[in-house]
């Protein structure tokens, strides 16, 4: 690693004046508590002793270079890793007070309560309406007029209602890339999860669609605990009110976004943010 010399202040990245971090919005009580989390791919440890608390009604962004473990961390939160052999997590992860890594946890129920949006849009091979209704129909108990209301409200919250209200029965795959991703967001929030996870949600989108998705997230912040993994530092600064920097499987630093981006405590965070590596 190159020995770092602190660059003059005016070269540091500016946090936009109107970022979410500046506006004083109240976050909620602690929603996710992670204690002593270690993660293994086979014998290789890829997450080292992670400890953190994430609040409800806030957006937490995780940044860091490729391979630092941020996506791995995200996938622990809904135990998506359990689909693959040779991957295991040790430690405690409390969501809403309950340890989700425990042996008696119903994984399908966990995944229903913790929603996820992926890097590439993944509309199901069915109509727009059916895509959004998918999770609701799985759980049952929501039918007919109720179902229509829930679907519409999810599509509104995902800022895509106006664009699809006349083609609810068109195939989900016929939408544009940005629309497909917002459809996936609608699908995830239709079931009103406790937590919403997004893994580089705008990586495959053009700038305008990216903007739309970011606006959606900011609006959703009032209702959900949102965790975003992103490669885009400016996006993290724009959108989140808490940012965590990860490096080589460790959580190096976590704090209010405007503090992380203007005066980070750790040298590694500083180097990454100022572009000395990444």
């Amino acid at each position: 690693m190159i020995p770092s010399i602190k660059p003059p202040k005016h070269l540091k990245m500016r946090v936009p004046q109107t970022s979410a971090a500046e506006t004083s919005l109240q976050s909620g009580p602690p929603k996710i508590e992670i204690r002593g989390l270690n993660f293994y791919y086979g014998d290789m440890r890829s997450l080292h002793d992670i400890n953190m608390t994430l609040a409800d009604r806030s957006i937490t962004a995780f940044i860091g270079p490729s391979g630092c473990g941020k996506s791995t961390l995200l996938r622990v939160l809904n135990r998506m890793y359990a689909l693959y052999p040779n991957q295991r997590a040790e430690g405690e992860v409390l969501i809403g007070g309950r340890d989700i890594l425990g042996p008696t946890v119903d994984v399908a129920e966990l995944r229903y309560r913790v929603g996820m949006v992926f890097q590439k849009p993944t509309p199901f091979p069915m109509s727009v309406f059916d895509n959004v209704a998918f999770g609701l129909r799985l759980a049952g108990g929501v039918r007919g007029a109720d179902l229509k209301i829930r679907v519409e409200s999810a599509l509104r919250d995902a800022a895509i209602w106006d664009e699809v209200k006349d083609k609810l029965h068109a195939d989900g795959r016929s939408l544009s890339g940005g629309q497909q991703q917002r459809l996936c967001v609608a699908r995830a929030i239709a079931v009103q999860p406790d937590v919403l996870l997004l893994d580089e949600p705008t990586a495959a989108l053009d700038p305008i669609s990216t903007l739309r998705v970011e606006e959606t997230l900011q609006a959703l912040r009032e209702k959900y605990c949102i965790v975003v993994v992103t490669h885009n530092l400016q996006q993290a600064a724009r959108v989140s009110n808490v940012t965590g920097f990860m490096f080589m499987g460790e959580l190096v630093e976590i704090g209010p976004s405007n503090q992380i981006f203007t005066s980070p405590q750790d040298r590694r965070t500083d180097d990454y943010i100022t572009g000395r590596f990444g």
């Binding site: 119903d106 399908a108 129920e109 799985l138 759980a139 049952g140 108990g141």
Partner: protein
């Protein structure tokens, strides 16, 4: 929560059913192999490889049938695979996108799955009827027709797998396509093409229906290509359906021999393909 329990139960039921399906399939394979081994080994003896097929109720072997199958399979491959390889080369090198190529690919895929008895009827009409009698050459021709689609498909697929950089480099040095194909592409796709040959041999060596009315059968030793020739599948067909125990034993022994050869060929083809892919992966 009741709904959740119902969904979990449904999930469990279907997954259990899929496990049962898999076990049933494996059980069938095991049952067939077991039967082949137990009945076939009982009928095995050195006579198999030294004596001819006997008259009803007599003692004998399968020598003429083994010879006939070997000869006709060999001839079938010798005639069919060059055609398949050349045609596959055409599709991969010259006719990538043309309408003719699309049609040929389509027809080839149809022939790949077509009933082999129809091919037998075809060869009967154009060879046996013309010649006036059944013959080993007619049998070999019907096997050749069956070998063509297999070799064509594998050749085309394997040639398409060769990195395009290789082709471009050769063309950039001024080589004509024929030169590129023969000197660069064939060696590069060598194992794949050989795999195709092995698969074709495995396919045609077990075929009975097309031989029923082309090569027919021959009780005696014959090396005359112009006359009916004994072959293993038709002998098995005839002997198994007969009421004679000696014949039935020979049929089982023959069945065991065919199955073992085909399994060995299929496994070799698979091993060869795996070697090919691992060689590729190590970045040669």
């Amino acid at each position: 929560m009741n709904r959740r329990a119902l969904r979990k139960a449904k999930n469990g039921v279907f997954l259990a059913l899929s496990l049962i399906a898999t076990m049933t399939g494996l059980a069938c394979l095991a049952a067939i192999l077991w039967t082949l081994l137990s009945h076939g080994l009982a009928g095995m003896s050195w006579h198999l490889f030294t004596a001819m097929t006997p008259p009803p109720g007599g003692q004998g072997g399968l020598l003429n049938a083994l010879y006939g199958s070997a000869v006709m399979t060999l001839l079938g491959i010798l005639i069919g695979s060059p055609i398949g390889v050349l045609a596959g080369t055409y599709l991969a090198e010259y006719g990538r996108k043309s309408r003719l190529s699309t049609a040929i690919r389509f027809i080839n895929d149809v022939l790949l799955s077509a009933p082999s008895i129809i091919i037998g009827l075809f060869i009967y009409e154009i060879v046996v009827v013309r010649m006036g009698h059944f013959s080993a050459i007619a049998g070999a021709l019907s096997l050749a027709v069956l070998a063509i689609p297999v070799t064509l498909r594998t050749t085309e697929d394997m040639l398409n797998l060769v990195p395009i950089g290789m082709k471009d480099s050769s063309a950039a040095l001024g080589a004509y396509p024929w030169r590129t194909t023969i000197s660069v592409l064939y060696p590069a796709a060598r194992s794949g093409i050989v795999t195709g040959l092995l698969l074709a041999i495995a396919r045609i060596s077990g075929e009975t229906a097309p031989l029923l009315f082309t090569a027919l059968n021959n009780q005696f030793w014959s090396t005359n290509l112009n006359a009916p020739m004994a072959n293993l599948p038709v002998v098995i067909f005839q002997f198994a359906l007969s009421p004679y125990k000696d014949w039935q034993d020979l049929a089982w022994a023959g069945a065991l021999i065919i199955t073992v050869s085909i399994l060995v060929l299929s496994i070799s083809a698979r091993v060869l393909l795996a070697l090919l892919q691992s060689g590729r992966g190590s970045g040669r």
